[in-house]
């Protein structure tokens, strides 16, 4: 694609983002459709969002979104009037000690994962294939989202029991033997399902569980490849180029064209949708670049000193997430991660982020990938 064509696509994407911003702000701040939280917040603002948000950049007028606002109830204060009467889910993050952060969802997780589904190569994620969800269970978005993704693609999803809050407690207590046993317990469940004749071809797995599963299968004389897995999606800041290389070279038995096993990383959280990656290849040094599902969500890489200022391409900054759906509005949430700003490209003609890792100021106090 020529530079001019890419520029044109980028302009069009920007126009769609501006239009989505206006629509979503109008929805959340109008008395007839907005949620109690934002309608109340409107009174504290020094501007009128209904009149003074005309494009995406106008979101800078909002104060930084505090995820602490999501702790505690009532959860109904986040449900927009426009969706009154619909069945509502609540998804939680954290919660090992104290009150977890909670986000209400109606259909967003389905929409996000349907969009994601269209990015998956059918060759490795065959339509109609059954899936294994090797990740946290309980009040997590991931559990239902993966199941929906599988169903959307015509399959049936098998799950395991995994309580991440207990895992965190085991680590805090220093009960490392219990931690090992719990991990084995999870892997045993997965191996049982995978070897029970359910014709599972695809899976979601956290990086640590994927590693443990591969080892567990090999100890039983088989492998990820041999049990018939062809498509894996995974995610998190542990998903580094080196990690991907390790998976490809040592867990899968080579790149997809050789091993028949394809893995795609993703990036996201309960507040935002799911950012997809550019295809990851050895030739590109296993570089991982994520692109948000614009215009429903935006990922920006902003200056450490000024969260309203994006850094130049290739430069390092903190990751800022924005969610723009009629279910949920998050105008600029500072994620606990940093990375480098990436150029738009053909498939995603907007900014991306690469090299995602824990924000250096929090890194020492951040526990990543405990399960």
């Amino acid at each position: 694609m020529s530079t001019a064509e890419l520029d044109a696509r980028a302009r069009q994407a920007k126009e769609e983002l501006d239009a989505q911003t206006c629509r979503v702000v109008a929805y959340h701040f109008h008395d007839s459709t907005g949620c109690p939280f934002w309608l109340e917040k409107k009174r504290e603002l020094k501007f009128d969002p209904l009149k003074e948000v005309r494009c995406y950049d106008d979101l800078k007028k909002f104060p930084e979104f505090q995820d602490e606002w999501l702790r505690g109830g009532p959860i109904r204060r986040w449900v927009p009037q426009g969706h009154a009467g619909k069945p509502v889910y609540v998804f939680e993050t954290g919660g090992t000690t104290g009150i977890p952060k909670s986000r209400m969802v109606i259909d967003d997780f389905r929409t996000d994962y349907e969009l994601f589904s269209h990015t998956l190569p059918d060759e490795y994620f065959p339509k109609g294939a059954n899936w294994l969800m090797l990740g946290p269970s309980g009040p997590r978005r991931l559990r239902l989202a993966v199941e929906h993704l599988c169903q959307y693609r015509g399959g049936i999803c098998f799950c395991i029991d995994l309580d991440p809050r207990w895992v965190v407690k085991l680590i805090k207590k220093g009960w490392m033997e219990h931690l090992e046993e719990y991990k084995k317990h999870c892997i045993d469940q997965a191996v049982t399902v995978l070897t029970a004749g359910h014709d599972i071809k695809c899976m979601f797995a956290t990086p640590k569980l994927l590693d443990a599963l591969a080892l567990g299968l090999e100890e039983r004389g088989t492998s990820i490849q041999e049990v018939g897995i062809t498509g894996i999606f995974s995610g998190g800041t542990e998903f580094t180029p080196q990690w991907t290389r390790y998976c490809v070279e040592e867990l899968f038995g080579g790149p997809p064209e050789v091993s028949g096993v394809y893995m795609t990383p993703t990036y996201g959280n309960t507040l935002m949708g799911l950012a997809c990656s550019k295809p990851v290849t050895a030739a590109d040094g296993y570089k991982i670049s994520y692109y948000a599902p614009q215009p429903r969500a935006v990922v920006e890489v902003v200056s450490f000193d000024d969260y309203n200022q994006v850094v130049p391409y290739g430069e390092t900054g903190r990751v800022k997430l924005t969610t723009l759906t009629d279910e949920f509005f998050v105008p600029g949430f500072m994620e606990r991660d940093e990375g480098e700003r990436e150029q738009p490209f053909e498939k995603y003609p907007w900014d991306g982020v690469s090299g995602v890792r824990p924000f250096h100021e929090f890194a020492s106090s951040t526990t990543v990938g405990v399960y």
Binding site: M176, D211, A212, L215, E218, P241, Q242, W243, Y246, L251
Partner: protein, 481 residues
């Protein structure tokens, strides 16, 4: 100083990772080395082949491995050895180790000598560790002792895993005997002090010991956890919290704070001036960083005078550039650490009956642009109840604690090295039977002076082997050879 790129070693094979840790000079911030980082999964996968390490080494008789270890000693001490994508002379090793750890060069040099001594004198060290057992018995797993009895030592592992520290290069002597004992080494080098592990591996290889039995896995916490989980026997160096975490785990030997002490008896205390040099050396040697440095002196009387005399000797010691031959203090290279320790000390010093005897010798906290230092401290405690009396810090620090001799054993708590200054036979017998003292010196021996012909902390033989019964007929014994 040229920048070295150092790969991980997976069973002797170099592995260049896409993730590298840039190890920097503690003052200038310049990159000194780029170290390939692996992940815990790699360790666990590689450990499935751990049996090979011992198989390869068992093809070489222990006596030959001991000879090769002596050759490695010379190479470690004097040779230019292959190191990553370059080479390393002993002088470069000293400069690099000092640059990344903040240790004075003179201490780095003395650690070379110490490690080389242990490698060179491995036959005597093994004799000390095994209490005179014929190495052939370890080699075969059984044998007949001089008294005519068949004994058997069953190896409990094929490799020793070790999660190595960054702050005390002297501790490497603990794992050096492993390869001569025909077991593999699985090491996670310290983040700031990768140097010793890499140089020992290079020296072993140059001395003709196969590379396969040695793995070096630089990386994050998950690498350490994987080593401890995947190796049947491993050692880790860390804080009191680390010690608590692995207490009771028979597969993990934890080396934490030593809380080493000098105990002065009623019969010797009136001659305390005679022991002043011994006390200074026990507190100040190796920058006060070792677990065998003395952190408390218990005395039945004259406590204030002893503390004052120590303060006069230790208080004036100042920070010197790392290359200065008189430098004796190591930097705290993690920003804010020295200050945080100092603030912790301030709280302890606020307790009643606690006096900072070094206060008159200038500020203890020395903050520089990127690093901090703590100058030696001597604190007088009127009672053993003072909380600071039971603390140990990573710089020359000692509490002089007033405590009646009869109460000392009940008050000192866990003690790695105790030097008892006494000629009192009854008290000596009590000290010998005390279970809270590991290494006991009776008489004027500084706590830091290890006699290598004595087993040291956590006898490696007891950890790696299990003495068990084997019974067989004389005919079978002769047939097995």
């Amino acid at each position: 100083m040229s920048v070295l790129s150092m790969p991980a070693l997976r069973w002797g094979q170099p592995y260049e990772s896409l993730e590298v840790n840039e190890v920097r000079h503690f003052l200038s911030g310049d990159v000194v080395a780029r170290i390939s980082q692996v992940n815990g999964g790699m360790v666990r996968r590689d450990m499935r082949q751990a049996g090979k390490a011992r198989d390869i080494l068992r093809q070489i008789p222990i006596e030959e491995l001991l000879r090769k270890a002596a050759v490695a000693a010379d190479l470690f001490e004097t040779a230019e050895l292959p190191m990553g994508d370059g080479t390393q002379t002993p002088e470069q090793f000293v400069k690099q180790q000092s640059a990344t750890t903040g240790l004075p060069e003179v201490l780095c040099r003395s650690n070379i000598t110490k490690n080389a001594f242990v490698l060179r004198n491995m036959p005597q060290i093994l004799e000390a560790l095994t209490r005179g057992l014929d190495p052939k018995i370890l080699e075969a797993g059984y044998g007949r002792e001089d008294r005519g009895v068949i004994v058997s030592y069953q190896a409990q592992t094929t490799v020793l895993g070790a999660v190595l520290p960054s702050n005390s290069p002297g501790v490497h002597t603990l794992w050096l005997p492993v390869v001569p004992l025909q077991m593999g080494l699985v090491l996670k080098p310290g983040g700031q002090e990768p140097w010793t592990a890499y140089r020992v591996a290079a020296a072993f290889q140059q001395a003709g010991i196969p590379g396969e039995p040695i793995s070096l896995y630089p990386g994050g916490h998950d690498v350490g956890e994987s080593i401890l989980a995947a190796c049947n026997r491993s050692m880790i160096f860390g804080s009191a919290q680390t010690v608590a975490k692995y207490a009771g785990n028979p597969g993990v030997q934890v080396h934490g704070p030593g809380f080493s002490k000098i105990l002065i008896g009623d019969d010797c205390v009136d001659r305390w001036e005679q022991y002043l040099d011994l006390m200074v050396e026990s507190v100040y040697s190796n920058g006060g960083r070792s677990c065998i440095n003395c952190s408390a002196i218990y005395t039945p009387r004259h406590g204030k005078e002893i503390a004052q005399a120590l303060a006069e000797r230790l208080g004036p010691i100042d920070v010197l550039p790392p290359e200065d031959p008189n430098a004796g203090l190591a930097a705290f290279t993690t920003e804010g650490t020295a200050k945080a320790i100092w603030e912790m000390l301030q709280k302890d010093l606020g307790q009643g009956g606690v006096t900072d005897m070094t206060a008159a010798y200038g500020d203890r906290l020395v903050e520089q642009e990127k690093v901090g230092y703590l100058r030696p401290m001597v604190v007088h405690c009127a009672s053993s109840e003072a909380e600071i009396a039971a603390k140990e810090f990573m710089f020359p620090f000692v509490s002089v604690v007033e405590c009646p001799q009869a109460e000392m054993l009940g008050k000192i708590g866990s003690t790695l090295v105790a030097t008892a200054l006494t000629e009192d036979k009854d008290w000596s017998r009590q000290l010998v039977t005390a279970t809270n003292i590991d290494r006991l010196n009776i008489g004027p021996i500084p706590t830091n002076r290890l006699n290598w012909l004595q087993p040291h902390e956590g006898n490696l033989i007891d950890f790696l082997f299990r003495s068990r019964a084997v019974q067989m007929s004389d005919e079978m014994f002769a047939a097995l050879g």
